[in-house]
């Protein structure tokens, strides 16, 4: 047995969890001290989320015990976890959009006055709470239309309102802008200094180094290391996670070929007073990766959706390979040679209830290799699915498994695999590595570079500046729906990009 000093708040001993034949947690131990920040890292499908779900009562383990303050507990369900002071900020926020901030925070533990919900009292309590933890919110604002960072803050306040002493964060920074990430890390440190204990699951090792006291590494359902952060380094952690050294492959110099995607003066007015896209002009050529850098919410995702035909633009020109696709239906856009990795894997990328093999051909099933005279070629489809699952190292039990039961990162890998294997002249990749572990990120980057060498045009939208800087031959900065600068590889540094992304430097032309 390990450290059993008095300040051990929580211990999980020998946790085992199986899904069918798959052992998602294989005899995992975890302990957490009061006021400590513990990072849990590991490859996609290593079992991190599963372990957290067990602690929060969303899953029941096959065996193993949980000790809280020296007492053995069984977390039957989430209500029970909350009652025991365990709170979780889930990856997919659990908020009610039409309700106000206060209503969401006090949910399940509402103050009452007589028969009625004491909404004024609740508002006051939320104001107090938000002041005490320096997490500013407007109690009476509605969730609908709020940026992710603010939604997350509401989630944190909710957990605090429930009086949680242990707060679990599952990949909290995956969807945040860099600025929001910094704020969140600051909040975590502050919560810890207030005596809260925090568990953070993440793929970003710099966050581990920046915020955590201790780090647990998982691989294949097993705990393989548990060590203080000050005794380790990013290199060592990444080696432990992936089991090999990562090699950055060089990007060969290739002159760009013919223009594949051409956009001229694209305008999308939207409903607000400011247009969402304002005279956007850009192009992507064959053998070229073009990055769009921008703080999320500046029009980059609407840009991608107008290209694909999901949103109707107001004016402008969009061509792929010389063919007009402006405001064309999605199917004809895809047929003209466009593949697309969407921003959100479950909203646009797949259906949670569909099998892996179905997800593997979604959007491409009409192609000759998959269907003949309207009949699906089941055999061919299965062998194709098995092939890409293997090639992209998607950790799945079988290709007949539901997509929704894959781990977050593996679902993402599957979608990336699907869109990358299609031999299209243009690939639009939105946040291709969101939620993916560092080993797999490397692999996907290599594949993008390969695709470029093969002559494809790649439009890369990412909120990871390092990714943009590493891969792009050319970079456009988007700010407030306008192109705010264009740079060739190596002709710009992170700092200038950052300033342009927030509009501190404006394009002289506009």
């Amino acid at each position: 047995m390990r450290n059993q000093s008095d300040d051990v708040l929580l211990r999980m001993d020998g946790i085992v969890k199986c899904y069918g034949d798959l052992v998602a947690n294989d005899n995992v131990d975890l302990h957490l001290n009061a006021g400590e920040i513990l990072a849990v890292i590991g490859e996609n499908g290593a079992g991190k989320t599963t372990l957290m779900k067990i602690l929060y009562g969303l899953e029941q383990p096959e065996s193993g015990t949980i000790w809280l303050k020296g007492e053995k507990i069984r977390v039957r369900d989430t209500a029970h976890a909350i009652a025991n002071g365990i709170g979780m900020v889930q990856q997919h926020f659990m908020l009610f959009d039409p309700f106000t901030v206060t209503e969401n925070i006090v949910y399940g533990k509402e103050p009452r006055r007589g028969l009625f919900f004491d909404i004024d009292g609740a508002n006051r309590m939320v104001s107090d709470l938000s002041e005490r933890y320096e997490l500013p919110v407007n109690p009476v604002a509605r969730i609908k239309g709020m940026p992710v960072g603010l939604r997350q803050r509401v989630e944190i306040l909710k957990v605090l309102y429930q009086n949680a002493e242990i707060i679990i964060f599952d990949e909290p920074t995956a969807v945040l802008t860099p600025q929001e990430v910094n704020e969140l890390l600051k909040t975590m440190r502050q919560l810890a200094s207030n005596g809260k204990s925090i568990i953070i699951v993440t793929h970003k090792l710099n966050e581990v180094m920046g915020v955590a006291d201790r780090v647990m590494v998982m691989r294949n359902g097993k705990l393989i290391a548990d060590l203080p952060v000050r005794d380790t380094s990013i290199e060592e952690l990444s080696f432990m996670m992936v089991g090999r050294r990562l090699i950055e492959s060089a990007i060969p110099e290739i002159p760009p070929g013919k223009k594949v995607l051409e956009i001229e003066n694209l305008c999308l007015n939207g409903t607000g007073s400011v247009p969402i896209l304002d005279r956007v002009s850009l192009h992507v050529a064959a053998n070229e990766i073009v990055g769009i850098a921008g703080v999320s919410g500046n029009g980059q995702f609407e840009l991608v959706q107008t290209i694909l035909g999901l949103i109707e633009a107001d004016s402008g020109k969009i061509q792929v390979g010389g063919q007009d696709i402006f405001n064309h239906p999605v199917r004809s856009v895809r047929d003209s040679g466009v593949a697309m990795i969407p921003e959100d894997r479950f909203i646009w990328g797949s259906a949670a209830q569909a099998m892996v093999v179905e997800t593997a051909i979604m959007g491409h099933y009409r192609k000759q290799e998959f269907s003949k005279k309207n009949f699906l070629q089941i055999k061919k489809i299965r062998s194709f699915a098995s092939k890409i699952v293997k090639e992209f190292n998607v950790k799945a039990d079988s290709i007949l498994q539901k997509t929704g039961s894959l781990s977050g990162g593996n679902a993402q890998k599957l979608i990336v695999a699907r869109e990358m294997t299609q031999q299209t002249p243009l690939l639009v990749a939105c946040e291709p590595t969101r939620g993916i572990d560092i080993g797999a990120i490397n692999f996907i980057h290599d594949r993008l570079i390969e695709k470029r060498s093969e002559g494809a045009a790649v439009l890369l939208v990412s909120s990871e500046l390092s990714e943009i800087l590493k891969l792009s031959d050319r970079i456009y900065v988007i700010y407030n729906g306008r192109i705010n600068g264009e740079f060739l590889r190596g002709k710009v540094n992170e700092e200038e990009l950052g300033l342009r992304m927030v509009g501190s430097i404006k394009n002289e032309l506009q």
């Binding site: 989430t78 659990m94 908020l95 959009d97 949910y107 399940g108």
Partner: protein, 295 residues
């Protein structure tokens, strides 16, 4: 020739009488909508309540017993439907249609076995709800006409709408109900027993489906509801599942129904006039959906 004021007061009175059976069911339907249940079984539930009331009336001659019998049986049927929809995750449409068909058949069959009649059962032995005495309004004949021959249950429908408004928007339980309709997964993950809330709501929504054969008409006929359960659902939708909006929605259909009844004595063919409430339903829903879609 009636004076205009008189005529209007008659229309008002008949609108109220036509609308309250719909209103009770519509309020139930609105609650169901709030917890994201589309309960089309309400037509069958309404039929159940109507039948149970007459049976209890026939055997006991007691208003109170009839009312209780109607409420309890309608609630039970609704509750069973709820179990199938929520616990066993049956498709709501399928469960609802089954309830409707089952009850249509069962009530017809039982009517034949119990009363030995086909088609309809009418009897002077049946008691009906006492009417509210409005003789104190004698000085204002128009008002008197407006509120004549209404039962306390007719009046209570409006009180209930107001009560439900407070329940839904001011109490914690109502808050939880609305939340389940918005995001059931989130509600569950926050420790709310969403299944129980949904089933409870469906069961409760049945209680209102009991009034049809207690006030205005004291008889039972095969398929006596004549689609009024569906009309109530339409009224709930029109009222945006808001209790006070539902009053307006039900009022609209009550009005259509009362117009249809009045026009029966006119030159217009009765097939047309009888179709009026249903035409109004389709038209109102179409317009409603259209405006919703435009927004």
């Amino acid at each position: 020739m009636m004076s205009d004021a008189n005529y209007l007061s008659v229309v008002f009175n008949s609108t109220i009488r036509m609308m309250t059976p719909i209103l009770y069911v519509a309020l139930g339907s609105a609650l169901c909508n709030r917890v994201f249940i589309f309960n089309i079984g309400l037509e069958g539930t309404m039929l159940t309540g109507a039948f149970a009331a007459i049976v209890a009336n026939y055997y006991t001659g007691s208003i109170l017993v009839s009312l209780l019998a109607a409420m309890i049986s309608a609630m039970l049927v609704s509750w069973v439907a709820g179990i199938f929809m929520v616990k066993f995750k049956g498709a709501m449409l399928v469960v609802g249609v089954s309830i409707n068909m089952l009850m249509a058949g069962l009530t017809t069959f039982l009517m034949q076995t119990i009363f030995g009649v086909k088609g309809a059962y009418v009897s002077t032995d049946l008691v009906s709800l006492p009417k509210v005495d409005v003789s104190f309004l004698g000085r204002w004949p128009v008002l008197q006409t407006m509120f004549s021959s209404l039962t306390y249950l007719d009046l209570f429908a409006f009180v209930l709408a107001i009560l439900l408004y407070f329940f839904l928007f001011k109490t914690v339980t109502g808050f939880h109900m609305r939340s389940v309709g918005i995001n059931k997964t989130a509600a569950t993950s926050l420790g709310i027993n969403a299944d129980r809330l949904q089933i409870g709501t469906i069961a409760f929504s049945g209680i209102g489906a009991c009034l049809l054969t207690m006030g205005g008409v004291t008889m039972f006929a095969q398929n006596i509801t004549a689609g009024r359960g569906f009309i109530a659902m339409a009224a709930a939708t029109l009222g945006a599942a808001h209790p006070l909006g539902v009053v307006v929605g039900s009022g609209f259909f009550g009005f259509a129904q009362s117009m249809a009844n009045m026009l029966q004595n006119s030159a217009i063919s009765s097939q047309l006039t009888m179709a009026l409430p249903y035409l109004a339903t389709i038209l109102a829903l179409a317009i409603y959906n259209f405006t919703q879609h435009r927004r």
